[in-house]
């Protein structure tokens, strides 16, 4: 018996909550490379000025980071290849009180930090989802 084809949903908008933004992006000083990069990417996303290379997050990564229901973008958005994009945004699909689906911004940070004490963007996303680091 064939499965009924799932109906595709219209795209959900992207939301940058003020508290998430402060905790993730404004922890960097104004003018810091990471912050400028995040601010620029946000402007691009909000103005819809570019096709975005959305990528699903691993729901259960071997590092212990569990990010079900999440997708990500690598920054800078116009980087040629993932290796040229050292930072990332992570978003979670959320249903609002009026039953609207949105992609809520939950984490920003380095993908592969040189400093071993720096949390990766995936660890930060896991912390925000589960309340503790993986």
């Amino acid at each position: 018996m064939s499965q009924p084809e799932q109906k595709k949903l219209p795209p959900a908008s992207v939301e940058f909550g003020s508290r998430e933004w402060v905790e993730e992006v404004e922890r960097f000083e104004p003018g810091a490379v990471a912050r400028v990069r995040a601010e620029s990417a946000r402007r691009t996303i909000e103005t819809g000025g570019r096709d975005l290379r959305w990528q699903r997050c691993d729901p259960e990564h071997e590092s212990g980071a569990h990010l079900p229901g999440c997708r990500k973008l690598y920054l800078p958005l116009d980087a040629e290849g993932a290796s040229a994009a050292p930072h990332g945004f992570v978003f979670q699909l959320v249903k609002t009180s009026d039953n609207k689906l949105i992609w809520n911004f939950i984490a920003f940070g380095e993908r592969h930090p040189d400093n071993p004490n720096t949390r990766t963007v995936y660890e930060r996303a896991h912390k925000r989802l589960h309340g503790h680091y993986p």
Binding site: P11, E20, E23, F28, Q55, Q92, K95, L101, P113, A125
Partner: protein, 127 residues
């Protein structure tokens, strides 16, 4: 956890990265006292040259557990496990359970997620 204070001559705490290092790497930076220019910290007046007074050291011990919040210099930090098995202070990350409860939101269903990400690139094994 132990916070070390060295009176007015201290440079900002040797056990934490300084502000520039922290901003460059995204690691937490704990300002226990305002940083001063290096030239001001090591200046020796002519009449005291050759005599360096010992700095008073006061150790304030904090009995903190993972998950607790502390406020230092008007900024909040959360006690979290360090990678070395101890604890460290980091700017807090408010969990979505708290944020969504305030906003009346909830995580979407897996079915909705599958429908909305059908055209996404698959996971790349990174996280």
């Amino acid at each position: 956890m132990t916070a070390v204070s060295r009176g007015s001559k201290r440079s900002g705490g040797a056990c934490f990265p300084n502000r520039v290092q922290a901003q460059a790497t995204g690691t937490p930076w704990v300002a226990l006292a305002p940083e001063k220019p290096l030239s001001r910290r090591i200046a020796i007046q002519p009449d005291t040259a050759g005599r360096i007074e010992p700095m008073a050291t006061a150790v304030k011990k904090l009995d903190l557990e993972v998950g607790e919040l502390v406020e230092v210099g008007g900024r909040r930090y959360e006690v979290v496990p360090s990678r070395e098995g101890g604890v460290t202070l980091e700017p807090p990350i408010t969990p979505v359970s708290e944020l969504y409860a305030e906003r009346g939101w909830k995580p979407a269903s897996e079915e909705d997620f599958e429908r909305l990400t059908a055209d996404d690139l698959p996971p790349d094994g990174e996280g």
